[in-house]
Symmetry: C2
Subunit: 271 residues, 2 copies
């Protein structure tokens, strides 16, 4: 098989990365996708850099064994900490969500005061600030870890009073610092877009890293001649998870809004 | 070394199990304790039974290699799903938190309408209901999974407006069903005791599974002649974690209120 006919690999700490899969499908409808959700060890965003890097390497090795032609790190925490190591260690193009998100925010921001929300690991890495200031050294980046948002989305509380109050708690300090653009630096946050919009108002663009990542990956694969050119059929999604496979269908409906092949449970070789 | 001079092993999905360690120290101040927090894979309470059982077996094997004279499963989710398998597979006394919690609740309840809050895994297991109805078949058990409470405690939000609203969301339906006793079926919940008390009022006893478990373990070890009789010095706590060790000191202060030996990071042999 020609290399460009292989699927694109995508991994995430859990099922949140399906928001990235959804956008990848939108911009590259003919590509096959292999998705790995490390649901047995989710979340990564509360763990240390060393552990996130180790898990990301194990996930990537699994995808390369399928095989795949490139790897998309859908998880912000893993993108923030592990991307360099993955590029160094593995011999395929590896894409993360941070650089595309940073570039999209710079396009939208007029005052160059950019807010970032994410997990503890992502914010601690300072990856968005570094990426933004590499392009525009004078930009101001104000970040805030929001550890409750992922469990809140997984509980299904994406609107209503409690959700609004939690969002105010996290976002009010950013608004006080006059951000003019907000990066949603975690795969789960797009599901909170409506509620976040209510709290920050309509004047602040919300940068969905899933959307910017998908466009970025499509552009890069095209340049590298790695798109499955000439394919007529729709792309197929092959999902793998490390915890039970049966709940995947329910989640994929919420996050992806489309059916997939049946998820298969796997154990990752560790170490 | 005589077997009764060995430490007691305790494991938990993370650092919440230190609330159990605190109570074990209170009732058995001379016992040495080996604590394993599986912080790289925390939480267990959102994972499937099979995964929880697999992780619990790996944790137990690690403790037995120290060696230890008995194993306390501080994690409610692991107690709920894995206790039978651990007893079957390993040749030391293994204690969980469910049966002691159930017995303590039965002692406090007058109308035999008992509420249980816990993780998704614990509630799904129905372990508290089974343990309570094995003693008193007529008792009514009303359970509710509360997935947001663990991240809320870890965020440090143990009081205040948001915390109260989240607790109302979870507890109001239980109160409507006229429970007269509430089991705090997760290691993190004792840190929310004051806030929970405000929401449920003073008329409903809160059963802290850490307290009942410690008394139960002390009683059982005494019967088995496994207490470190004659030891004069204070017991020592040896902590191990699977994610970074440096944050352990900060958490142990909050959960345990006492210093420990320096935590050591370990990788568990899997499979």
């Amino acid at each position: 098989m020609k290399r460009n006919q292989l699927p694109i690999g995508v991994f995430d700490s859990g099922i949140g990365g399906l928001t990235v899969v959804k956008q990848l499908r939108r911009v590259m409808p003919h590509e096959d996708l292999v998705y790995l959700g490390d649901t047995a060890r989710v979340p990564y965003g509360t763990k240390s850099p060393e552990t996130v890097v180790r898990f990301a390497c194990e996930d990537t090795r699994f995808l390369l064994d399928r095989p795949v032609k490139s790897v998309v790190v859908a998880c912000n925490s893993a993108s923030a900490w592990a991307l360099n190591e993955l590029e160094r260690r593995f011999d395929v193009p590896v894409f993360g969500v941070i650089v595309p998100g940073a570039e999209a925010a710079l396009k939208r921001s007029r005052t160059l005061r950019i807010g970032v929300i994410g997990t503890r690991a992502t914010v601690r890495s300072d990856a968005y600030r570094l990426a933004i200031r590499k392009s525009v050294p004078g930009a101001r980046v104000i970040s805030r870890p929001c550890p409750l948002l992922v469990p809140m989305v997984e509980e299904g509380w994406t609107r209503g009073d409690v959700t609004r109050r939690v969002l105010h708690e996290y976002l009010d300090p950013l608004l006080k610092q006059s951000i003019d653009t907000l990066i949603l630096g975690c795969t789960h946050y797009p599901l909170l877009k409506t509620a976040i919009r209510e709290v920050v108002g309509t004047g602040i663009p919300l940068v969905d890293s899933a959307v910017s990542c998908a466009k970025y990956v499509a552009g890069r694969l095209e340049k590298m001649d790695l798109l499955a050119e000439g394919r007529r059929r729709s792309g197929v999604i092959f999902p793998f998870v490390t915890d039970e496979a049966s709940r995947f269908a329910e989640f994929s409906k919420r996050f992806l809004g489309a059916p997939t092949k049946k998820a298969i449970r796997v154990e990752l070789p560790t170490g």
